[in-house]
């Protein structure tokens, strides 16, 4: 019972190390001199040397890498060049907003996907199925970039029901959450439908029906739980889409989260801050995938003991 979670958590460490290494490599090995990018081509050589020294870029690459890893272990990600504030403090300040948005997006996705998938999967080929899957195809095709403005035009500007941008109470959360969650809802609904259709042919479903359960009760009581396993896997894979979708959504709705922090840091060429944001996003993604694996084991006991 305990061994499976422990194994999953132990497997997390090498992946996290790989992700940290890749983040470091992205910033330090990709051609282009960040210091010159920050100060401009015409900067005085003394200033360039000064900033390079301040950032530790004049030290050997191996030493930089080790102190980068040691810093992560201590929760120290260096200082933002633009503001002088520790990167970790900036991320701690902004990250809750991103988690709030992603969580709300996830709730929207599940709230739409579940009924749609079940309705479609219970009567494949029927009118409800066609309608649900038509919606799903639209949901997959409409990009965040356009859904956001569309919702803003209709619900903020025309109807005046919801605030246009910013973070505040739950009314501020509604439009960004729908923008973020719709594509995921569509993908999940399609998967749930597919999975329910497959489950309908299983032996235990025939047993449930032959002992006199109504098709609906058999499907909800026996089929659904089994049909959920692939859906949960997909949920984990889609977590990346949710995180990265939040970058666009935050920019559209001026949502003060990690994505917006990262994009502003990129325009300001504040590399330590960019590095910290990329690392936080990537590690969160890895962590979410591990949690999905654990959830997977909870739904399907066969996996725990394999």
């Amino acid at each position: 019972m305990i061994a499976y979670p422990l194994r999953r958590i132990a497997a997390l460490l090498p992946v996290a190390l790989g992700v940290a290494t890749l983040t470091f490599a992205l910033i330090h090995l990709v051609p282009g001199d960040p210091v010159i990018a920050m100060l401009g081509e015409s900067a005085a050589p003394a200033d360039i040397e000064g900033l390079r020294h301040q950032l530790g870029l004049d030290r050997p690459l191996g030493a930089q890498y080790l102190s980068f890893l040691a810093g992560i272990a201590r929760g120290d990600l260096g200082q933002s060049i633009a503001t002088g504030v520790p990167v970790a403090a900036l991320i701690r300040e902004r990250f809750p907003a991103t988690l709030e948005l992603a969580g709300a997006g996830l709730i929207v996705a599940i709230a739409i996907a579940f009924p749609l998938g079940v309705i479609a999967g219970a009567n494949p080929g029927g009118a409800a199925d066609m309608g649900a899957m038509g919606f799903a195809i639209l949901g997959i095709s409409i990009p965040h970039l356009y859904l956001g403005p569309l919702l803003m035009i209709v619900f903020s500007l025309d109807l005046g029901w919801l605030p246009l941008t910013g973070r505040g109470g739950w009314p501020h959360l509604v439009l960004p959450a729908i923008t973020l969650g719709t594509a995921m809802a569509a993908v999940l609904a399609r998967m749930l439908r597919q999975s329910l259709i497959q489950v309908r042919g299983a032996d235990y479903m025939r047993t449930a029906l032959s002992k006199g359960l109504s098709p609906t009760r058999a499907l909800l009581g026996h089929g659904l739980r089994n049909a959920l396993t692939p859906v949960v896997t997909l949920l984990g894979l889609q977590a990346g889409a949710l995180l990265t979708g939040s970058i666009i959504t935050e920019m559209l709705f001026s949502w003060p989260g990690l994505g917006r922090l990262m994009i502003t840091a990129i325009s300001a060429r504040d590399y330590p801050l960019v590095e910290g944001c990329v690392l936080t996003f990537a590690l969160t993604y890895v962590l979410v995938n591990m949690l999905t694996d654990l959830l997977y084991g909870l739904i399907d006991p066969r996996i725990r003991f394999a």
Binding site: I153, T244, M251, I263, I266
Partner: protein, 269 residues
């Protein structure tokens, strides 16, 4: 041909993609005006006969910009998919055929790249590489190639054990002949399906990067930077975001349908 009647996705997808390709290839020279021509008398003008999609904040014709954007968006996406397909297939195929340590090493590398949410990698790369078109192709290519590497590796490993491949090998076929006669034809289907979905994905990713100011820079029009420029005028001129937004949506829809249809046609799961 009989299969086509039972494959509406393929027909719808092929039709949409054909229209998009025609718009991108012919539109700029046949219909479009100069997408950069500024006309301050027509700032934020609503659609008229002369400007069917209206004009933007500098009085530039939105239809022309959408058509030029189509050429750029579709062109970049196709190029990116082609590059990542070639790189990914080579790495995946080499890993499967080499086996052992080399396979282990290559696939661990792929796993770590896959542990990065795709567009984050592209954003980070685009931010560091800078504004050029080649830089954009590299940044976007970094997202896709790992998928092809995994797909091709898995397919090659399973194909190698198939009887007809074993038989060819037993008859003394050289590795190059095995590859050309047996492996590549069998791989073409799954790879083509993934590449078709891939074009839609890269169109969205390119739009996202351009929207964030990390892709194609203004004044050159792409759908992503048009949405970015248009969203300031959401209240007074919603057509500025609607036109490129619909263009992205229709493209993704087209390539998704085509991918579904191809998968059904070629019997790819």
């Amino acid at each position: 041909m009989r299969n086509l009647r039972h494959n509406p996705s393929l027909i719808a997808g092929a039709a949409l993609v054909a229209i998009l390709a025609a718009a991108a290839l012919l539109g700029p020279s046949l219909i479009a005006k100069d997408p950069l021509a500024i006309d301050l008398g027509r700032v934020l003008a609503s659609p008229t006969r002369g400007h069917p999609l209206g004009c933007d904040a500098l009085g530039r014709d939105v239809l022309s910009r959408v058509l030029w954007g189509a050429r750029l968006s579709l062109g970049i996406s196709t190029l990116v998919v082609a590059v990542s397909l070639i790189v990914g297939s080579t790495v995946g195929g080499a890993a499967a055929l080499a086996g052992g340590r080399a396979d282990e090493l290559l696939m661990r590398g792929v796993d770590i790249l896959l542990a990065f949410p795709g567009i984050l990698l592209a954003i980070a790369l685009a931010a560091i590489l800078g504004p050029g078109l080649i830089d954009l192709v590299i940044a976007l290519g970094a997202i896709g190639w790992t998928g092809y590497a995994r797909l091709v590796r898995g397919e090659v490993l399973s194909l190698r054990e198939r009887e007809y491949v074993q038989a060819a090998r037993a008859l003394g076929a050289r590795p190059s002949r095995l590859l050309i006669r047996h492996l590549i034809p069998a791989l073409a289907g799954p790879v083509a399906v993934q590449a078709t979905f891939g074009v839609g994905g890269i169109i969205v990713a390119e739009a996202a990067l351009s929207f964030l100011g990390l892709g194609v820079r203004p004044p050159t029009p792409t759908w992503g930077n048009m949405i970015d420029e248009g969203r300031v005028f959401l209240l007074v001129a919603p057509h500025l975001t609607t036109a490129p937004g619909l263009a992205i949506g229709i493209s993704v829809l087209g390539f998704n349908f085509l991918g579904d249809g191809l998968a059904q046609l070629l019997g790819v799961r």
